[in-house]
């Protein structure tokens, strides 16, 4: 029994000769909201399909709840709720009947249907055929279906796709509340860093099939080192002056950048500049945003 709810080792999936997922070691601890992040086509959905037993790994192993998915797939799936890509539904049935069709398979109590309907606020529309639902409503029905069996692990692939802003906020609050209230572990994939940033406690970043970062979100934030930007009247001369005082800085146009420096050092630099009669227009801190780090890691400039 390992400490992880999900643990994959060298998980690999080949389509033809292309490795869509390449040696991924996913590690998700109990009670975490694990943000699975990557640009479109990085292999997120393929990984998730393998986690759910919909696709077969070419190589590597998957353990969920400490059980091997190859051997104990059904007992694992009983405790997993999922929503993969777009929501699944039977258009000719009502929302209630859709949930009933799944409830029978999960052996959940009938009362659970009303509970999940109220969680996703579809109680009013429960008796309407799903084919008339908007994408947002179908998405919410998909979440309701995923919650139906009181899962211990929830795997949501791009759950905010197609939702309007208020729907996204609602979904986010719902997802954030679940680990606290029910002790559910959540894996949520997205290509939007901002979304993961607002929910996740752990992050895994995948690019071109490879895991390039996996740690807590605070570790990722630590990478967002700050720089101090000084705007002065004669940047080049000022830069030389600072160099002669023994301060290495970078100069770009009228700005001088000082990296990773203590308050004292900044004070000394400013003092030196003032003493040499430079006019200092601005002293600002420039933080590298998570977005920048993400792009840096995935090596895709403006690709999103």
């Amino acid at each position: 029994m390992s400490a992880f709810i999900i643990e994959t080792k060298h998980l690999t999936k080949k389509f033809g000769s292309k490795r869509v997922v390449n040696h991924i070691d996913l590690q998700v601890k109990k009670g975490e909201i694990y943000g699975f992040l990557g640009p479109n086509g990085a292999g997120k959905t393929t990984t998730i399909r393998m986690l759910l037993g919909l696709a077969r790994p070419t190589k590597g192993s998957i353990h969920i709840f400490g059980k091997d998915i190859k051997k104990e797939k059904l007992s694992i799936l009983k405790k997993v709720g999922s929503l993969v890509e777009y929501p699944s539904y039977y258009g000719h049935l009502t929302a209630y009947e859709n949930l009933e069709a799944v409830r029978i398979l999960l052996d959940a109590p009938k009362s659970r249907i009303d509970e999940v309907l109220s969680i996703v606020r579809l109680t009013k529309d429960a008796k309407r055929p799903v084919k008339g639902f908007s994408l947002g409503m179908k998405q919410r029905l998909g979440i309701a279906t995923a919650l139906l069996g009181n899962p211990e692990l929830l795997i949501l692939d791009e759950p905010t796709n197609g939702l309007d802003p208020s729907g996204i906020i609602e979904m986010r609050e719902l997802i954030k509340s679940m680990p606290k209230e029910h002790g559910i572990t959540i894996v949520i994939s997205s290509h939007l860093l901002s979304e993961i940033d607002q929910m996740a406690t752990q992050v895994g970043i995948i690019s071109k099939g490879q895991m390039i970062f996996q740690d807590s979100i605070s570790k990722l934030r630590e990478r967002s080192t700050s720089k101090i930007k000084l705007t002065v009247n004669h940047a080049e001369a000022a830069w030389k002056t600072l160099l002669s005082h023994g301060y290495t800085t970078q100069r770009m146009q009228n700005n001088i950048f000082v990296e990773n420096s203590s308050n004292e050092k900044i004070a000394e630099i400013v003092k030196a500049l003032v003493q040499h009669d430079y006019s200092i227009y601005r002293v600002e801190e420039e933080k590298k945003s998570l977005e920048d780090i993400f792009l840096e890691l995935t090596g895709q400039e403006g690709g999103l």
Binding site: L54, A55, L77, V84, Y90, G91, L93, A101, L105
Partner: protein, 243 residues
Amino acid sequence: MRKLFQSEFLKLRKSAIWLLIFVSPILSLLLGLGAGTMTDLGEQQWIETLGMMTISHAILFLPLLTGVFSSFICRYEHVGGGWKQLLTMPVSRKNVYIVKVLIVSFLIGLTQLLFVSGLFLIGWLKGFSTDLPWEVIATSVLGGWIACLPLIALQMFVSIAWSSFAAPLAVNVIFTIPNMLIVNSEKFGPYYPWAQPFLLMMPSTGESFGALNVSATTLIIVVFGSLILFLGSGLGYFIRKEI
């Protein structure tokens, strides 16, 4: 397994598919009613009528219905992404497949029951005087149903493999049309899956079985052989299929 049946029936209940089980029996009923006016039925009145009704029902409708039902029972899974949802439930793929095949078999079975009720209705309306040839009728109806099983297995395979609703149906129609000729061929008839419902359903009067004097044993072996082949390959495909 029981849970899968319940869930599957819930999905079916609200659809129009039920109406299709009536089409062929009603048509056969009309044909059967007309039968007596054309020829004198004589001693074999039950069997003659049954034979008359069987022609369109078994040559055309039974093979077509196996395709329609199979396509239909897969359609709602293809359309709304149902496979994905169904297969992330704690159910084995083998059972999912078998339940789907059994439900189509059940629908075909209901069609057969309606068909035979039609025959009884005709007999009652026309006041047939001879005794009911129970054995012949039961063999015919049951034989027709059994002969549909390999077809169902085959059609289920095609319907699962192709997400389109029309494509499996088109293939089925293409293979059903030549039936008219093939049932008359002694060489190919017994081995052509689409011809088997007719060959097993057509009542006989003499020693031989079926319209072509092919022995019942041969037919049964062919039917069960192909059933095992089609069911096995379809099941193997479905278990490996990546959703």
